[in-house]
């Protein structure tokens, strides 16, 4: 089996990986805000927990896509994974917006 000269599936796999990593940074930053806040922070912690869950959802999407990219020599287009990934990021934006209303 000859490798694709452009290493396209590998590059796309790594793109998913680094996007997941960027997302993790956003969650960590949001977590930092709640961890350093003074006083009651129940709602803030809940919002950060939601962003963490959204990150896990993104991780699952990325993992699924990476497996597809690895399994096929000519992988099919991303299809529904793309709008799903967008929805997860948009939901994270909403959570971050709600966090602004704090300190919770």
């Amino acid at each position: 089996m000859t490798r694709d000269p452009g290493a396209q599936p590998e590059r796309t796999r790594l793109a998913w990986r680094r996007t997941t990593l960027s997302f993790a940074l956003v969650v960590a930053l949001a977590g930092r805000g709640v961890a350093t806040a003074e006083g009651a922070r129940g709602a803030g912690a809940l919002l950060v927990a939601t962003t963490a869950l959204l990150w896990v959802a993104f991780l699952a999407l990325a993992h699924h896509r990476i497996r597809t990219l690895t399994a096929h020599r000519q992988p099919p287009p991303a299809g529904a994974t793309v709008p799903a990934a967008t929805a997860v990021v948009a939901a994270t934006a909403l959570c971050a917006g709600a966090l602004l209303a704090g300190p919770w």
Partner: protein
């Protein structure tokens, strides 16, 4: 206009409708389009991180100023994410139909928005310094 928007939104969520159009392009083009989408998604995430960082680190600014800048960044992030999927679907469709790739004003608008936000932050920090 609204019809057109609804049509595009429907297309985001129905890749099988996309597949009914034209011919499947070389898989490498689709993967390149996917990576472009992910790059835009990272831009969106970077804007979200920026918004959260402004709220956490520019605590010397007045609450209203700080929250406005943070909200602008967060809204920009959400906009980038939506634009990412929209551009992906339009490029994919153009490739299937053999059309030219869609032209877009969005990068220019994003650049201008970034400059304005930077100026706003610089102004706010300088004024805060002067007031202190």
């Amino acid at each position: 206009m609204i019809r057109k928007v609804l049509d595009t939104v429907r297309l985001w969520f129905s890749p099988q409708r996309l597949r009914a159009e034209g011919v499947t392009p070389d898989y490498r083009f689709s993967l390149a389009n996917e990576r472009t989408f992910l790059a835009w998604l990272r831009t969106a995430l970077a804007l979200l991180a920026g918004g959260i960082a402004v709220d956490q680190f520019l605590t010397d600014l007045r609450w209203a100023v700080r929250t406005t800048i943070a909200l602008v960044l967060l809204a920009g992030g959400a906009l980038c994410a939506i634009r990412a999927v929209n551009h992906w679907v339009r490029s994919e469709r153009a490739m299937r139909r053999g059309d030219d790739l869609p032209a877009s004003r969005f990068p220019a608008l994003l650049a201008i928005g970034t400059v304005l936000t930077a100026l706003l932050v610089i102004g706010a920090v300088l004024l805060g310094r002067a007031g202190a």
